[in-house]
């Protein structure tokens, strides 16, 4: 779900770079406020690589097989690092595979990154005082599901609006609205699958290594830098 080069007009490309620049600047500012911003760089980078690779996995959603987008999951596990991670990931996808584009890098980063940040904020609400005590696994799973499907749903909506309001100049308004609705509806099953998938991954992480989920909101888990079991490395 990336816009390639040459489709949207230059003004949209420029607006995309502007919003992506703003979001990057704000994310970097928030990251800069953390205790040791550089300590998270290897984690964020390796996760960027994981998402890059995992988005190549096919999942069958009858009648077709789809790629997962995983921007919601990225937001959930990376917090403020999600936007820079998406920017870097998209840059490599564009220059290595021609997936997406160079002039549309800003548009694509905004389209995937802003929903990812919203998913991150949503998932963070599980740490709110009242919720933490009652919630537990169910709440975590639910928030992850919402984050995952929100990520894809919102991305599809932005894509559809961009595509049909800017591209075919001579398409009439009713056809435009119908096309947007059709494209968004086509993504509903995908959003559900993505939500379930995100919830499953998060519950897996909660079982195997909860510290990984805690990391972006302070260090109540294990200290960053302390491997879970030294014997299991390698």
């Amino acid at each position: 779900m990336h816009l390639p080069d040459g489709i949207v007009p230059a003004t949209v490309c420029a607006a995309g770079f502007a919003t992506a620049g703003l979001a990057t600047w704000y994310s970097l500012r928030r990251i800069g406020r953390q205790e040791d911003p550089q300590a998270q760089v290897p984690k964020a980078s390796l996760f960027t690589a994981v998402f890059f690779v995992a988005s190549l996995v096919h999942v069958p959603v009858p009648p077709v097989s789809v790629h997962l987008i995983l921007n919601g999951l990225l937001g959930v596990v990376l917090g403020w690092y999600a936007f820079p991670a998406i920017l870097v990931g998209l840059f490599f996808q564009a220059v290595m595979f021609g997936h997406g584009g160079l002039t549309t890098l800003g548009v694509n980063a905004t389209m995937l990154g802003v929903p990812a940040l919203l998913a991150a904020l949503l998932f963070r609400s599980r740490g709110l005082p009242g919720l933490e005590a009652r919630g537990g696994r169910k709440l975590t799973g639910l928030l992850a599901f919402l984050g995952g499907s929100l990520g894809v749903g919102l991305t599809a909506l932005i894509l559809a609006v961009l595509l049909f309001t800017t591209v075919p100049a001579s398409l009439d308004a009713t056809a435009e609205r119908a096309a947007i609705a059709a494209l968004v509806l086509a993504h509903v099953p995908l959003a559900l699958v993505e939500g379930v998938f995100t919830a499953l991954v998060v519950l897996f992480l909660l079982r195997v290594d909860p510290g990984l989920l805690e990391n972006h909101r302070g260090p109540p888990g294990r200290e960053p830098g302390e491997p879970r079991e030294l014997a299991k490395t390698g």
Binding site: P4, D5, G6, I7, P9, A10, C13, A14, T24, L28, I31, Q38, V41, P42, K43, S45, L46, F47, T48, A49, V50, F52, V53, A54, V57, V59, P60, S65, P84, A85, V88, F91, F92, A94, V95, M96, G98, H99, G101, L102, T103, V167, P168, A169, S170, L171, V193, V196, F197, L200, V201, F204, L205, V208, D209, L212, G225, E226, P227, R228
Partner: protein, 250 residues
Amino acid sequence: MRLDQHAGIDSPVHRWDPRLKLVALMALALSFAFVQDPRLLPAMLGVSFTLCAVSRLPAGFVARRLRYPGFFILMLAAVLPFFSGETVLLQLGPLGLREEGSLEMVMIAGRFISIITVAVVLFGTAPVFTNIKALRALGLPPLLGDMALFSYRYIEEIGTDLRRMQRAARLRGFRAARPGYRNLKTLASLVGSLLVRSYEKSHRVYHAMLLRGYGGPERVRHPFRAGFADAAALVGVLGVAAAFVVAEAI
């Protein structure tokens, strides 16, 4: 199929200072995005193909780069000419081939081919690390530069990890093509394990880097030197980019 496999060729584009090359060719690619007028199409394709010829990149390499994203364009090709516009050129049963839609299609394809060609020349004529260093020298925030270097370093390795895990899952009877909750759960565990593994790896990498002095105040050091020819090429390409924008505006 590595991106920078032909970075070792000797050509004027390869010798160009990577910083100036980044600025010039990005501006050129963006100016192509401005082009709406069909009369500018031959000039746009001409400029990008000339650039490609000067860079001496093998034609097959550039063509392969165009193939994959071409699918998206093909999808639009199937829709736009039939639904956009009023002037019907050719009636094919219930569908009419429309002039405006067809023209839009040709323009999209033309811009697409030109921009991708410029992008391939930009990133195919220098090693990826050189380009990231050049971006840093141009003012890319250090955190983004570090993340780019790191991710690039680990994409290959994590890809191998994933393939190994998928092979192991298949050997245990996992069939990826069967839809269902159970399968989704297995895939989720696969991605989860990949995250946990790379999380642990990232700690080890971080410690190794701390030992080698990472984390101090960063200085950008680079070997780039721009001479007269580099600057002249920058001015020339920026001029061409500006010409496209101006020609479009008139």
